[in-house]
C-alpha cells in the first residue's frame, strides 16, 4: 500500500532522514516510533508529499504521490483546520477539495466523531480533543485508503486517546491502512507493525513482539524503588549492566545474563537499607525504545 525506497532528507547539510525504506501492507496500522527530533515528522511529510525528499521515492497504491492524492488523508501534528470556520464548514471545505458533495457521508463522520453537537461551533473554539476529531473527520471526508496521522494523540486526555485508538482499529478493520507516528509506548503496542526511528534512521522494525526481541540476550529485573541518583551510579558500574530505567516508583534494570541477581541485590542493598523485592520481568517496548535510542545517542 505504502512503499518508500531510500528516502533521505537534508536540511542544509544536516541529514534529517537517512535512507529509510519501508513497506506498509493494506489494512495495517503501522507505527513510527521515535524520540523527538528523530525525523518522524519529516518522514511522514515526505510520504505525503508535503516536503520533497532529497533522495528516494514513495509510492502509494502503486502510484506516485501526486497521482495518489485522492487516495490518502493526512492529519498534521498541529491543528491545521480553519479556526474561523465552523466544524461543518471545515468538513464541507475539505470534502469539496476532493469533489465529495454527498452530505450524508459528512453527517456520518460528524456522528462518528461525536461532533454533531458542535457542528456550528467555530473550530478555533473547540477543545484540543475535539479539534483532533475534526481533523480526523476532515481527513476521512473523501474515504481514503490510506491515512497518515502525525502524533494524533499528542496532548490528548487518556479517555479520548482510547476512543481514537478504538476508532483506528475500526478503520484498519474496514481495510484502511494507517501510518501513525507516536512516542507513546502503549500506542506502539497496539500497532501491527512498528519502525523505531532515531537520529533520522530506522534502527529496528517488526511487530511489537519481534521488536522486543531486538534487545537480544538480556535479563530484565524490576524493583519498586523511587529515583535515587546514587543508586543509579552504583548500578551503572556493575559489569554487564545494559540499561537502568526509572518509571516513577519502578526501577527497571536490563542486564547481560552473566550479571547474577545476587550481585545486583548487593549493589542495591549498599544504598537501600529497607527490604526490597527484585523480580525478573518481561521486556516491554519502553525498555527497547530507551535501549535503542540510548545506543544511538552514544
Amino acid at each position: 500500500m505504502i512503499k518508500a525506497r531510500h528516502l533521505t532528507k537534508f536540511y542544509n547539510r544536516q541529514k534529517a532522514v537517512n535512507d529509510v525504506s519501508l513497506d506498509v501492507e493494506k489494512g495495517q496500522i503501522f507505527g513510527l516510533l521515535g524520540p523527538n527530533a528523530a525525523g518522524k515528522t519529516t518522514l511522514i511529510r515526505m510520504l505525503c508529499g508535503i516536503i520533497d525528499s532529497s533522495q528516494g521515492d514513495v509510492q502509494i497504491n502503486d502510484q506516485s504521490i501526486a497521482k495518489a492524492r485522492s487516495n490518502f488523508g493526512y492529519v498534521a501534528q498541529h491543528f491545521g483546520q480553519y479556526e474561523e470556520l465552523s466544524v461543518w464548514e471545515n468538513l464541507k471545505f475539505y470534502a469539496q477539495m476532493y469533489d465529495v458533495t454527498d452530505e450524508t457521508v459528512l453527517y456520518a463522520l460528524l456522528q462518528r466523531y461525536a461532533l454533531i453537537a458542535f457542528k456550528d461551533r467555530m473550530a478555533g473554539d473547540l477543545s484540543g480533543g475535539y479539534q483532533r476529531r475534526l481533523a480526523l473527520a476532515c481527513a476521512l471526508a473523501h474515504d481514503p485508503d490510506v491515512l497518515f496521522l502525525d502524533e494524533p494523540t499528542a496532548g490528548i486526555d487518556p479517555v479520548t486517546r482510547k476512543l481514537l485508538w478504538d476508532d483506528f482499529y475500526l478503520l484498519s478493520a474496514s481495510g484502511k491502512t494507517l501510518f501513525v507516528t507516536t512516542h507513546y509506548m502503549e500506542e506502539a503496542q497496539r500497532c501491527h507493525q512498528l519502525a523505531f526511528m532515531a537520529a533520522g534512521s530506522v534502527i529496528a522494525r517488526g511487530t511489537p513482539e519481534t521488536i522486543k526481541e531486538s534487545l537480544g540476550d538480556v535479563l530484565i529485573y524490576s524493583v519498586q524503588i523511587a529515583y535515587l541518583p546514587e543508586l543509579h551510579e552504583v548500578l551503572n558500574q556493575l559489569p554487564g549492566m545494559v540499561l537502568i530505567n526509572q518509571f516513577g516508583e519502578e526501577l527497571r534494570i536490563v542486564v547481560k545474563p552473566g550479571l547474577k541477581i545476587d550481585v545486583i541485590e548487593a549493589a542495591i542493598s549498599s544504598i537501600i537499607k529497607t527490604p526490597f523485592a527484585l523480580k525478573l520481568s518481561q521486556a516491554n517496548l519502553e525498555d527497547v525504545f530507551i535501549a535503542l535510542t540510548q545506543d544511538e545517542a552514544v
Binding site: G49, R69, S70, A76, G80
Partner: protein, 372 residues
C-alpha cells in the same frame, strides 16, 4: 527588570528575522535615493503640440523662443482641434495655436491673440506651464514686433504687440478634487488590496492550515485562482463604493464610458490583488508582507504622476514610473473621468495593466510551491 526582559526578547526576535532587518535598512535607503533623484517639481521637455498657421518670421520667433528655453518639446500638428486631441490623448500636455492672420494683424497693430493650451488635469503642471509659457511673450520675441502707426497718438507705454490667451482644458476651474480624487481611488484600492491579499498565504503558512491543504489534490492554478477571485470581487465592490462616495460628496465627473470604467476597475483590482498574492507568496511572515506592501505603495504614489508630474521626473529614472501599475491607472482614470480620452488612446495603458495581471498571476503560480 520585566521591561528590560521584554525589550531584550523583542530585539532577539527581530534579529532572528534577517529578511525583515534587510527590509528595514534597504527600504528607506532605496526609497530615499530614488526620491532624491526622481522627485523634482520643475518639469522639462513637456510635450507641446504646435500649430502655426501664419508661418511668418514673427510666429517662428515665438516658436524658437519657446523651444530654446528647453522647457517645452514642440511638435507640429495640423489644426487647433488637433491640439486639443493631442492633449486629450495624453501625447501632449500643452499646445500653442497661432492663427493665419497673426502677422497681418501684428503689422496693423491690431494686437492679435495666440492661444496657449494646457492640460488642466494636473494643476501643479498647469501652473508650471503657465509660468514657463511666458517665454513666448518675452521681450526678445516682442521687441521686433512693434510697428509704429503714423496716425496714432504718442503713448508712454506701448501696448503689447500680441496677446497670449491661456485656455485650460478639461478642468477649466482647476479644481483640485478633479485632479486628486480619481487617483485617490486608486491609492485606496491599492492599499486595501495589498493588505488584504498580502497576508492571505502567509497566514495559512503561519497557522498551519497550508500544510493540511497541500495534501489535497488541488492544483497550483486552482489555489491561485481560488485565492484571487473573492478578493477581486470584494475589491470591485470597494472600488465602486469609493467612487460612489466621490460622486455624491465631491462632484466628481461622470466617466466618458461606464463600460471602460468598469473594465479599468476590474483590471486594476486584478493587478493589485494578484500583486498582493505574489507578495504573500514571497514573504515568510505577515510582518514581511506588510513591509513589502508599503515598499510598493509609497513609490507608487510618488512616482506615478499622481502628485508630481511625470514630466518632472528625470529621464534617467523615468522608466521606473512605467514599471508602476498605478501610473497607468492614473492616466486612464483621468482620461475617463476628466479628459474624455478616446479608448484608442488609452489602449496602451489598458494593455500595460493587463500585462501586469498576467505577470503577477503567472508569477504567483510559479512561486507557489506545493511543498512546505
Amino acid at each position: 527588570m520585566i521591561i528590560t526582559a521584554i525589550v531584550k526578547k523583542e530585539l532577539l526576535q527581530l534579529r532572528r528575522d534577517p529578511r525583515l532587518i534587510a527590509l528595514i535598512i534597504v527600504m528607506p535607503l532605496v526609497l530615499l535615493i530614488l526620491f532624491g533623484v526622481a522627485l523634482k517639481l520643475e518639469p522639462s521637455n513637456v510635450k507641446m503640440a504646435f500649430v502655426d498657421e501664419d508661418q511668418s518670421i514673427f510666429s517662428n520667433q515665438i516658436k524658437t523662443s519657446l523651444w530654446s528655453d528647453g522647457y517645452f518639446d514642440l511638435y507640429d500638428v495640423s489644426s487647433k482641434q488637433q491640439i486639443i486631441e493631442e492633449i486629450r490623448s495624453g501625447r501632449a500636455k500643452a499646445g500653442l495655436y497661432i492663427g493665419s492672420d497673426f502677422s497681418s494683424l501684428l503689422t496693423e497693430n491690431q494686437q492679435p491673440h495666440i492661444v496657449f493650451f494646457t492640460d488642466g488635469t494636473m494643476p501643479s503642471l498647469t501652473t508650471a506651464m503657465k509660468y514657463n509659457s511666458a517665454s513666448a511673450t518675452d521681450e526678445n520675441v516682442t521687441s521686433n514686433m512693434y510697428f509704429s502707426d503714423a496716425d496714432a497718438d504718442n503713448v508712454v507705454i506701448a501696448q503689447e504687440p500680441f496677446i497670449m490667451d491661456t485656455e485650460i482644458l478639461f478642468n477649466p476651474d482647476e479644481k483640485e478634487t478633479w485632479f486628486f480624487l480619481p487617483g485617490v481611488i486608486g491609492v485606496l484600492i491599492m492599499q486595501i488590496a495589498l493588505i488584504l491579499t498580502g497576508i492571505t498565504v502567509v497566514r495559512e503558512r503561519e497557522k498551519n492550515t497550508l500544510e493540511q491543504l497541500l495534501v489535497t489534490p488541488m492544483s497550483k492554478t486552482s489555489f491561485i485562482i481560488g485565492k484571487l477571485l473573492p478578493y477581486v470581487f470584494i475589491g470591485l465592490l470597494d472600488f465602486y463604493f469609493i467612487l460612489g462616495v466621490g460622486w455624491s460628496l465631491f462632484d466628481l465627473p461622470q466617466p466618458s464610458s461606464h463600460l471602460l470604467l468598469f473594465l479599468l476597475s476590474f483590471i486594476y483590482v486584478a493587478v493589485m490583488i494578484s500583486l498582493g498574492l505574489l507578495i504573500s507568496l514571497v514573504s515568510k511572515t505577515q510582518q514581511q508582507a506588510m513591509f513589502i506592501a508599503i515598499f510598493i505603495i509609497v513609490p507608487s504614489i510618488l512616482l506615478s504622476g499622481f502628485i508630481f508630474p511625470l514630466e518632472a521626473i528625470p529621464d534617467s529614472v523615468r522608466f521606473l514610473c512605467y514599471g508602476i501599475p498605478f501610473t497607468y491607472f492614473v492616466e486612464i482614470i483621468r482620461g475617463l473621468l476628466i479628459k474624455q480620452t478616446l479608448f484608442v488612446d488609452l489602449l496602451p495603458a489598458y494593455a500595460a495593466l493587463t500585462g501586469f495581471v498576467i505577470v503577477f498571476v503567472t508569477g504567483s503560480i510559479y512561486k507557489f510551491r506545493q511543498t512546505l
